[in-house]
C-alpha cells in the first residue's frame, strides 16, 4: 500500500508491505513516519469532530470531538449516533457528551462552553 505521511509537512511517500518479518515501511525520513505508515496499514484511526443538536434556539448546535482517535471503520457509527442526540444547555468545554461511544472506547466531549438556555425552544 502507498500512503503520504501527514506527521509533518515533508509529506514523505510511504510504501507499506506485509512480510514474514512483519509490516515493512519504506520511504520515511524519520521514526514517526515509520510508525504512521504502520498504523495506517494495520489500524487506521481518526479523531471524529461533529456538532450535536441542542434544545436551545440561540445555540442550536454544540461542537464535540472524540477524546481519542476512533478506528476508521467505526467513524460512521459514531457520527450516526451523535446525529440522533439532543443535549440541553449549558454545556462546558471538556465535559462528557457520551461515554464509550458505540463501544469504540472513545468518549465524546464538548469542545465549547455554551451558556444556559435563553428560554427559546428548538426551532
Amino acid at each position: 500500500m502507498e500512503y503520504v505521511c501527514i506527521v509533518c509537512p515533508n509529506g514523505c511517500r510511504l510504501t507499506v508491505e506485509p512480510t514474514q518479518e512483519g509490516v515493512v515501511v519504506k520511504g520515511h525520513k524519520c521514526p514517526k513516519g515509520e510508525a504512521y505508515g504502520r498504523d495506517e496499514f494495520i489500524d487506521p484511526r481518526r479523531v471524529v469532530t461533529a456538532a450535536v443538536r441542542t434544545s436551545d434556539a440561540s445555540y442550536p448546535f454544540a461542537p464535540v470531538k472524540s477524546d481519542r482517535p476512533v478506528a476508521k471503520k467505526d467513524v460512521d457509527a459514531v457520527l450516526r449516533h451523535l446525529y440522533r442526540l439532543t443535549v440541553d444547555l449549558p454545556v462546558r468545554r471538556g465535559a462528557m457528551c457520551c461515554t464509550d461511544c458505540c463501544g469504540t472506547g472513545a468518549s465524546i466531549v464538548f469542545t465549547r462552553t455554551l451558556p444556559p438556555s435563553s428560554g427559546g425552544g428548538a426551532p
Binding site: I6, P9, T49, A50, A51, R53, P60, K72, L79, R112
Partner: protein, 418 residues
Amino acid sequence: MIAVKKIDSVVIGAGAAGMAAAEVIAQAGCSVALVDREEQTGGILLQCIHNGFGLHHFGRELTGPEYADEFSERVRAFPVEIFLETTVVNIVPHPGFSRVITCSALHGVTVFEATTIVLAMGCRERNRGTIGIPGTRPSGVFTAGLAQRLLNIEGYIPGRRAVIIGSGDIGLIMARRLTWVGSEVAAVVEILPHPSGLTRNIVQCLQDFSIPLLLSHAVTQIYGKDRVEGVEVAPLENGVPVAEKARIVACDTVLLSVGLIPENELSCTAGVTISPNTGGPVVDHRLQTSAAGIFACGNVLHVHDLVDFVTEEAQRCGGHVVDYLRNKIPAAASVAVEAGANIKYVTPNQCAAGTAQHFYLRPLVIREKAKLAVMQGQTPVFSRNLSHVRPAEMISIDLDNKIMGGLELDRPLTFSIR
C-alpha cells in the same frame, strides 16, 4: 447624548489576533476595550469545529472552539472591557489619539478616544464575483466558510451533492464535513497543477473518502435556474481551458475555496497605507501602520497559514502597543524590507538596524531542498537551508540583535529563495 470613553487601546476584532493582543495589553496594566460585531468572542475559530489547531502554541491538537475558548477565558481573567454586537463604523485619527466610532443595539453610539488602536479584523473570502465564473445565478453557490458557518453553527446542510472550487484548506475541510453529514462531494476542482491546501487535509479530507481532486481544471460555467443543477469542468492546457474536453458534473451546490483577502475597509477610513503584496497595512518593525498609534496583527495584516502564528504575532503586537503607551522611544525604522526571487511578500515592511526582528514570508514556489537567502545589496546577511518550500506554508524567521546590528542603514534588506 453620545458616550465618549478615553482609553489606552481599542482592539478591533475579538478573534484569535484581537484576544491575544488585548490580553497582553491588559496584563501590562493598560486600559483596553475589545470590540466585535458578533455575539461572542472567538471569531472564525468558533465555526472551525475540526481539530488540528494549537500544535505550536499549546503543544497539543485542539479544535477551533477549544482554541478560542482558551483565549476567551484568558481575556476575561483580565480587566478587558468587551463590547460585543458592536460595530466600528469609523476611525478618525487626531494628533496623539484616534476617535473610534462604534454603534450597537445594546450600547447605542459609543466614541472611544484611544491613544492606540489594534486592527485585528481578520480576512474575508474571495467569492464568485472576484474570480468571475460565467453562467446563471441560481441559489446554492456558497463560499466554503459561509457553508461552514451554516453547517457547524446554524445546523443547516447547504446541499446534497457539491462541487468544490479551489483546494484551499477550508474547502478540503468542508469536503469531509459534508461527507460526514451524508452529502456527496462530486469533485474538488483546482486550477493550479498542485493542491493549495495542506497535505494532511488532502489525505484525511479527500483520499479517505475517494473524493476526486481535479488538478489543472477549471469550472467554466454554472448551470441552473432557481437552484444549481450542475457545473461545466474543463481541463487546462497551457493555462487555457480546453472547451472540447469539457464535461458537465451534476450537483446542487457549489462551494468556493479560492483564497482569502485581509479585511481592511475600516483601516482605509483611518487613512492607513495598504501593501499591494499582502493586501494588509504596510507596517514597521513594531507592527505600527502608516498612521501613528494604529497597529495591525493577524489575518488583517497578511493571511496566515496557522492560527498559532496569528497568536504569536498578536502577542508581539500587544507588546509593541504597551511600549508605545509607556512612551518608550523606539529604534528608528531605518531599513526597508523587500521580497526578492520566489517570495510573494515579507512582513513587516521595515526593520531597525540593531534591533532583533521576527519576519514572516510567503513563498511563491514549490521546492524540495531550497535555500533562503537574506541579502543587503550584494552582501549576504543570513541564510538557511529549507527541506521544502510550499506556497501553502509561511516561513517564519528570527534575526537576532547581532545579525541586525551588522545591517547598513538605508539599504533594503532582500529575502529570496534559491
